[in-house]
């Protein structure tokens, strides 16, 4: 992406969020005038003192009068939420997924109108309320399966599996003819199991499914439905012994290196993980990425938003805070370099790697946002029912049932989830 287009986008963005700045040509002067102290809260404890410090100094080249300081939280959701009942939760922060969507306007400053901003940024609909945007995704990633090409080769797999059946066959071959773990769940860390959820759209083969169709269904975990099919795979591989021997003592760090060495064949993960695993491999080219298996005709790589960055409604330096948001999204290159995804900005080019998939006929697609009047409904039902689509609790139960640690069968769990879903849906409607 060229520099001029960056500037163009950023000034468009500023124009969108602040009425005063209607003309873009004065941008340079305006920028110098913005001043204030801002506190930026991040979940990146690992790079807050290094990369983020660099960001601050680059940001200051453009906005010398803004003083930026950082706070990093280790358990982001857990630590930010108690603070949100006060006014003191930084100036720029990530919108915690725990905040119900309808309550977002009481905590965050609107960044602009959805009608305008959705042409510039991907994923801004997700936490928009009443046509106003409150957050922009810090990165867009896609979900699929990381695999080791060498392991596939020595198992005699020449073609990338497409359907569920083919995929399970491949895993079985890996088990029979190599020493590698066919599919590593990373159960102990918990969060890797939630990565599966990102692939529901691949299974459905339909970007409308998640936000538009599912919400009107009585049984999202009913037989034949994408959630059922997908998590049935999780159950089946566990039941057939195609996963690690002791899921309880797995370690995420070690798993990356194991895959790099060819001791693991596949892991279901977001695209952000590819680089990390490659960096641990003896030969980075051994590591490949493929879409989640599906029985649908069309193969979709669903694009999903990472955390969304927003501005505290009670901030005393909103202009400076908004300038940071704008700079962070459009100029820091955080999304590519630090989050292993792509920028939410639509004017940013797709990285080279993604182009190869498009050649293979794989489509990249954003999920269709919910219909008018149903925004936030899914999130509400999800919390009320305790189904927790994006939480690991029930996924862990599925693995436990698969390895025989639970009395419940997969269908029992699916029934239970359907019941909870329905009860909550009836209560909310």
């Amino acid at each position: 992406m060229s520099l001029s287009s960056v500037l163009l986008v950023s000034s468009m963005f500023l124009a969108g969020c602040s009425d005063e700045k209607t003309s873009t040509d004065k941008g340079g002067e305006k920028e110098g005038e913005i001043s204030g102290d801002i506190t930026v809260i991040t979940q990146r404890t690992d790079i807050v003192d290094t990369i983020f410090k660099d960001y601050a100094s680059k940001f200051n080249e453009k906005y010398p009068e803004v003083n930026v300081s950082f706070e990093a939280l280790t358990d982001y959701g857990g630590e930010i939420t108690p603070r949100m009942n006060t006014k003191d939760y930084g100036d720029v922060l990530l919108i915690p997924t725990q905040v119900p969507i309808e309550d977002i306007p009481s905590f965050f400053e609107p960044l602009g109108d959805l009608a305008e901003m959705k042409d510039q940024y991907m994923g801004v609909e997700e936490r928009a309320v009443d046509g106003k945007v409150y957050g922009i995704p810090i990165a867009i990633t896609y979900t699929g399966i990381v695999y080791n090409k060498k392991v596939f080769e020595s198992a005699g797999v020449s073609e990338i599996p497409k359907t569920f059946e083919q995929f399970t066959e491949v895993l079985q071959k890996v088990k029979d003819s190599t020493k590698a773990v066919p599919l590593y769940t990373n159960y102990a860390a918990g969060w890797p199991l939630t990565q599966w959820e990102g692939a529901v759209t691949t299974v459905a083969g339909d970007p409308d499914y998640y936000n538009i169709k599912m919400i009107n269904e009585d049984d999202p975990f009913g037989k034949g439905k994408p959630h059922y099919e997908m998590y049935k795979l999780m159950y089946d591989v566990a039941e057939k012994g195609l996963i690690e021997k002791d899921p309880l003592t797995t370690d995420w760090e070690t798993s990356k290196a194991m895959m790099g060495r060819g001791e693991i064949a596949t892991m279901v993960l977001g695209s952000w993980a590819i680089e990390q695993i490659k960096s641990q491999a003896d030969n980075p080219d051994d590591i490949g990425y493929m879409p989640f298996p599906t029985n649908a005709d069309k193969v979709i790589f669903p694009l999903g938003a990472d955390f969304q960055i927003g501005v505290n409604k009670n901030s005393e330096s909103k202009e400076a805070a908004e300038a940071w948001v704008d700079w962070f999204i459009n100029e820091s290159n955080y999304s590519v370099e630090q989050a292993g995804g792509i920028s939410a900005s639509k004017s940013a080019e797709l990285p080279e790697e993604l182009k190869q998939y498009e050649e293979q006929g794989v489509e990249f697609s954003l999920l269709t946002p919910a219909n008018d009047g149903q925004e936030g409904l899914l999130d509400k039902i999800d919390k009320e029912s305790e189904v927790g689509f994006w939480l690991e609790d029930h996924k862990k139960e599925i693995v436990e049932a698969g390895i025989g640690n639970r009395k419940e069968s997969f269908d029992d769990i699916a029934d239970r989830l359907n019941k909870d879903w329905n009860k909550a849906r009836a209560k909310i409607k």
Binding site: T81, Q98, P100, G190, D246, T249, K383, E386
Partner: protein, 292 residues
């Protein structure tokens, strides 16, 4: 008029007021006010964020008592409960022995207390390696010829709670130990000397001197340990997040309140838990009284 010139009766009143003022203020502000708020939340459907909290009466409590699965997790507490007695026993045993003259006693004190010096991150990390197949525990068992009883220490749902309770003993035993050690050191040496002249052996000294002298501390430790068992949280939370049948009541409460945004329901659960802990503590206290 100077304070020291006041009559002792008046001084007493002043000292009582002055010495308890700050601790009581802290106690109220940081322990009782939050509990009051929690009780208040328990009658609402607050999600932890919304500006308005709707009053729902006893609905949360009804919900808790109509869902027996909420109480099933208390069976997990039984493991920690049993471990507590073991933990107290060895802490008391080691504290007693190390009060006598034993070779290398400082070294042993250090070793016993060491686990308590580590922070939670370290514990989670270490025990992952410890319980892993072919990890430290398996290696040790192989070496001492017990290789045939090796298990998936966390992977087996029948054993996981024993492993976690064991970890908890390893971690907190040092704490009880150092407190018992401190308490035993308050006993005057003369008492021991006199008993030795009377021909008492160590067992007698333990039963007739040490135990009665530190009864109060033992009682407190038991109360804390048992209430800690009922509300066990940290070890299972950092090690397994409550999965594979290791979920405790507090883990359950925390996830309902904060993961699923049901602070009202979570608060009601916490109130129920607190009541259970209080009842158990009262039973325990009255049991001690009867013995006296």
């Amino acid at each position: 008029m100077k304070f020291s010139n006041l009559p002792y009766k008046k001084q007493q009143l002043v000292i009582i007021a002055a010495f308890s003022l700050i601790p009581v203020a802290l106690l109220i502000t940081f322990a009782y006010v939050p509990v009051m708020n929690m009780i208040q939340y328990s009658f609402t459907n607050w999600n932890g964020f919304s500006k308005n909290k709707e009053y729902v009466g006893l609905e949360n409590y009804k919900m808790i008592f109509t869902r027996p699965e909420y109480f099933k997790v208390f069976t997990v507490s039984l493991y920690y409960f049993a471990a507590t007695f073991f933990q107290m026993g060895i802490a008391l045993y080691f504290a007693t022995i190390l009060s006598f003259n034993v070779k290398f006693k400082n070294l042993f004190k250090g070793i016993l207390f060491f686990p308590y010096l580590l922070n939670g991150v370290a514990i989670g990390f270490m025990f992952l390696i410890f319980f892993r197949p072919e990890g430290t525990l398996d290696t040790v068992m192989q070496a001492i010829g017990l290789g045939n009883i090796i298990q998936l220490w966390l992977g087996n749902p029948d054993i996981i709670n024993i492993s976690l309770a064991g970890t908890s003993v390893w971690r907190y035993m040092g704490f009880n130990f150092i407190i018992f050690l401190g308490a035993i050191s308050s006993i005057s040496g003369e008492v021991f000397e006199a008993s030795e002249i009377d021909g008492a052996n160590r067992w007698h000294q333990f039963i007739y001197i040490i135990l009665p002298s530190i009864k109060r501390i033992i009682q407190l430790n038991l109360i804390l340990a048992i209430s800690g068992a009922i509300s066990a949280f940290e070890i299972p939370y950092i090690m397994t997040g409550g999965s594979n049948g290791s979920e405790t009541f507090v883990i359950q409460t925390v996830s309902i309140a904060f993961k699923y945004g049901k602070v009202g329901l979570g608060s009601a659960m916490a109130v129920v838990l607190l009541l259970i802990v209080i009842i158990v503590t009262l039973i325990q206290k009255s049991a001690f009284k009867e013995e006296e």
